[in-house]
Symmetry: D2
Subunit: 370 residues, 4 copies
């Protein structure tokens, strides 16, 4: 199935389009080969305005032309699109996503609310693409017709698990320590006050350690046709906020199941390669794990955009005196960890036939969004 | 022995007085009740100038009046003082400190060179004050007469071990993980370029992890009358540089020997109290470990000066899913981790009779430094 | 009138006590020789809680013991105190301050609302202490009995005018350019989002340029017994927010009325000295303008606390190719520019007999605040 | 003359290729349609190594493949190229550039040394392209054969003059104030220590104010066939270093010769458009001045890359109480202010026939750099 065949085949909506992650999605969709942004929705404060009026734009460059004039709708599940991304605040995401799914919309969510639901895939295509097979069970369980919910992990979990995957495949994995140094953009806008962030580190992010200790179990676990089987890892996480704009840095120590030399570990990371199917997705990288040889890398400000922000960059792979391997990893929290993650999930769903392009013909799309 | 009895009884010199740690020492000595700054020495570039001319002063407030006019000497062991602090660069510290010791000067060093020598105490008074008993052995080994070398640990080790001490005392300790987020002042001046530090984290500090994995073994070990017995801990350290001015933050997970509840651990930290002897030292705190109850503390910019920068501040004491206890700790890298550490060591040495006040009578001191 | 005579003679309340400026006032009052903090008030969200419960404390060290247990009251003008400081948000300050004044409370305000009122003094004791003579006129105009309102200037105006004063006195002044680089603490908490502040400058602060172009006219003008006569200066201000925690830096170019050499200008700044009366106020400095000789000073992080944050630090006094003199100045926005300014105003009012200590005897005070 | 016609027609060398500006040039040249990088030279420390070995790379993404293997030469004027860019340190640039010019190389310099020479053009193509006509006079004066020196202005002058140009054209200009807030990348690497930059502003940059007060006179002046006639502007500059990575922000107040409304001024800026000839240069923008309507823009971190870093972004155009117009402007100090400026100058020189492509045929180029 070639990219050309998909051209603008699906119409996408974005729930929570005015927030930090929503803006990234709007930007990424503006020149996406398969998806066309046809609807934006947000909390009541913004509805009725155009997207340009409603949005305090945080990204480099202007608001994409395609999005500027779209009228921001409320969260009623009657948007003119074939599926929705959800970048809603967690206070409203849970129910809104269910309503959209119940009304026939595939929901590709970045929100935490349904991640650990027993019938909702928590998905990183390069890690556990087979988990999409849980979707029919979810639909049956919940009485959804064509709608369903798929989620991506928490921003600090995404990069971690992507790096753990080749190690788990090659050597098995028992347990790990991880300490994060997370960028302020992960807290949204206005998010972290500058009086807290400037020249400081905040050694606490509400709920983050719990997510990092739980989500990898599901991501690295298995869907057995009926339910998700946890990976059974021991995980201990400490999460910190540092005065960095974009890019979560993580110090990790890992105990493997099989003995491996450091150079075998480095090789497993360096040669990690996705399948042909995945590599053909527009947002995917053939090699999503990049090993940096600099002794003082990866660094957030210099390396977060590696692979258009979709790579996990690994450095300082070395022996751990307590477990087996120590390393440092970095991933872009808003791309690999949020908007890019959701986009890649949607691409996988499209490639696997989970997204139906509804009624619309091109001319209708044009009219609908004029 | 009262503080009054000691008044200005000892004349101190500072080697490396123009650097970051040297400046802190000069400032701390300017109103010290026991020690009078009578000599400053530095690398050749500065010698012959007054201290005010030779120094790019980094601290708040002006250069202390007492120090301004002192002429900076070279590293020849003929300074007019009863003992010296060494805050030299490690490229010259090793030999210079030996020369001073050989020429009869007690050397209270902040440098790494002799820390792990088998007959040199690596000293934190609140942790292992009995290690000073190795001094006579050192003098005999090396043929030193009245001189000797005493060292304090690396800046990131100091706060860590101070917090481990009450836990090791109460419950025993097997192993620990530590990830540091260290302030730029720890790298000296000019140190870390702003192009590397701004909005960034550098996941590497040369030699730091090795120090953190080695020094606690000696600090928490024992002097058996002949040699130092390692504590036999398993330690794994990751060290990072963050854009913070002062204060090293550390995320720690610990395996204890005895089972303990979190509230027992917190209590052991909270009630940690030094002996009467130590509490009477001018720079000592009765309770050098401070437990902060805020869920997002300690924070470097807000808490590094706790206890005049001599406290280790602990927060977020909680269960670790892999080991037993997780916590976050903070200490001021230039005070508890360097200048204050050396000063406290000198005070202990004075109190225990290891510092002899030479020839000088007050009037002579006045003349010598006029 | 000695400090001793005043000891804890007046009971002070703080309106807006939980905000950034309010916290500074609470801290400054905790060891003030004349004033005792007996009441705190704030917006409705906080009322009924103790001060410790209601406040997210931003300052180094703990909340002062004296303040912790005070119950936060609402803005009803029935507080148990002899006068109030107002650090309220401007959305409520205007009316609240009038109500307190009408009910007999002297109001020492940091808020902008009444600064430019034709019968309210805008006061910097070192600059225009005679403006307090407008108070009886204000009371008569407004039918206030013993209450009245006195204000201090905007945080960026305070340091500027303090530096202009000796120049205006010595040489006269025609016009000036000023460009500010202001600290984030000037925007309160949460204030400036870190996503805007990190590694960035925001070239706009709402309403700030207007204040800086208007307030100096009144401050450097005269009270003629009936009304304030503007100084008639030409002023152009550009205001910027920089990623600095505390301390507003300002680049100024000035046209004087009389010809003066640069060394005469520097001398006028250096020798500026307040009267005996002012020098005896607890918060006053004998020399509130400090000239720093370093070619790259003043710098906010290093110099903002000069003179306990009550000095204006001047550097780089040099010729201006367009006007006469160029210089850079710095003052602490929360001390000289807000809380310290208000405190000094209150001290002047006390010294001049404008604050009456009401009914209270010590024992009553104790009971009232237990 | 189409871009195609020029394809890789000239072989470029970079002097000072390992520094901050040199790296930007190397990167910009890596995909330039006209110029091929065939030689890199630097100070002695680096010579003999490959560019990849000699360079501590500071830019996003890897070192361009084309440059990695080039052997770094010393500053001997025998490089294999048709012209050179000079990004040398000013301590060696003066003489080295003369030697290259004397040996037949056109030198396109970013260095300050020859900027104010009476026969060297200080060039911004959009501002004073006719100044290239001084080149034959320079060659005659100095006895250069085909070589010559052309310079671009200081990084903070570049953006300023670009914005002044349309105002000078439309209304004439008498005088101006400018206060800069300059990024740390302008100081090179290691440049500003983080201990000075973090949470701070440094109100001094050596020599910068002098450059800003002198260079615009030449840039906005005229070449009369024999010499440069100054623009005769009154200029006063204050220069500051702020903790920003890239992008110099400037607050400017201007006195025009003709009366103009603010909307006329804004219109003159907005409609400023370069000639067809200039617009066809690969690095040029049709509209190099971009007016941003946001009330708090331009901001360095968000807007410095506007127009690939070659635009000057203007905001907050408003009345000045003292002069006529106030505005804020931003330009990328390493692109518009250095590497991009030099590249654009070279493109103009190429388009006007000042660069001769020497002997080399494509196959030879390939060999020379293999």
């Amino acid at each position: 199935m070639s990219a050309r065949a998909h051209t603008k085949q699906w119409r996408a909506g974005v729930l929570g389009a005015t927030g930090m992650v929503g803006q990234r999605l709007v930007k990424l969709l503006s020149d996406h080969p398969w998806f066309e942004l046809t609807a934006v929705a947000a909390s009541e404060r913004s509805t009725g305005k155009t997207y340009a009026e409603a949005t305090r734009w945080h990204l480099e460059g202007p608001i994409p032309e395609r999005a500027r004039g779209l009228v921001v709708k409320d969260l009623d599940p009657s948007l003119d699109c074939d599926f929705v991304f959800s970048a809603l605040d967690s206070s409203v995401a849970g129910e809104a996503e269910e309503q959209f799914a119940r009304n026939g919309y595939p929901v590709v969510s970045n929100c935490k609310n349904h991640r650990m639901d027993p019938d909702v895939p928590l998905l990183i295509p390069e890690v556990n693409s087979s988990h999409v097979n849980s979707i029919p069970v979810q639909q049956k369980n919940r009485g959804y017709d064509s709608g369903f919910i798929v989620t991506n992990p928490n921003c600090s979990t995404a990069g971690l698990v992507l790096v753990l995957k080749p190690l788990a495949d090659a050597f098995g994995m028992e347990k790990l320590f991880v300490v994060t140094m997370q960028a302020v953009s992960g807290a949204g806008y206005p998010g972290v006050p500058s009086l807290d962030a400037l020249g400081n580190v905040i050694p606490y992010i509400g709920g983050e350690e719990e997510k990092m200790e739980a989500e990898p179990q599901k991501l690295l676990g298995k869907w057995d046709g009926h339910r998700f089987i946890d990976a059974g890892l021991g995980i201990s996480a400490h999460c910190n906020r540092v005065p960095v704009v974009d890019g979560h840095l993580e110090c990790v120590s890992v105990r493997l199941k099989k003995t491996a030399t450091i150079s075998e570990v480095r090789e497993a990371l360096r040669t990690f390669e996705v399948s042909e199917e995945l590599a053909s997705l527009p947002t995917a990288l053939k090699h999503p794990v990049v090993v940096h040889d600099g002794e003082d890398r990866p660094q957030p400000r210099k390396d977060a955009n590696t692979g258009h922000g979709m790579a996990a960059v690994v450095g300082r792979v070395r022996e751990c005196p307590l477990l087996d391997v120590k390393l440092t990893l970095l991933s872009h929290n808003l791309l690999r960890g949020a908007a890019g993650a959701a986009l890649l999930n949607a691409e996988l769903l499209a490639a696997r036939g989970f997204l139906k392009s509804r009624k619309a013909e091109p001319s209708e799309v044009e009219q609908a969004t004029r």
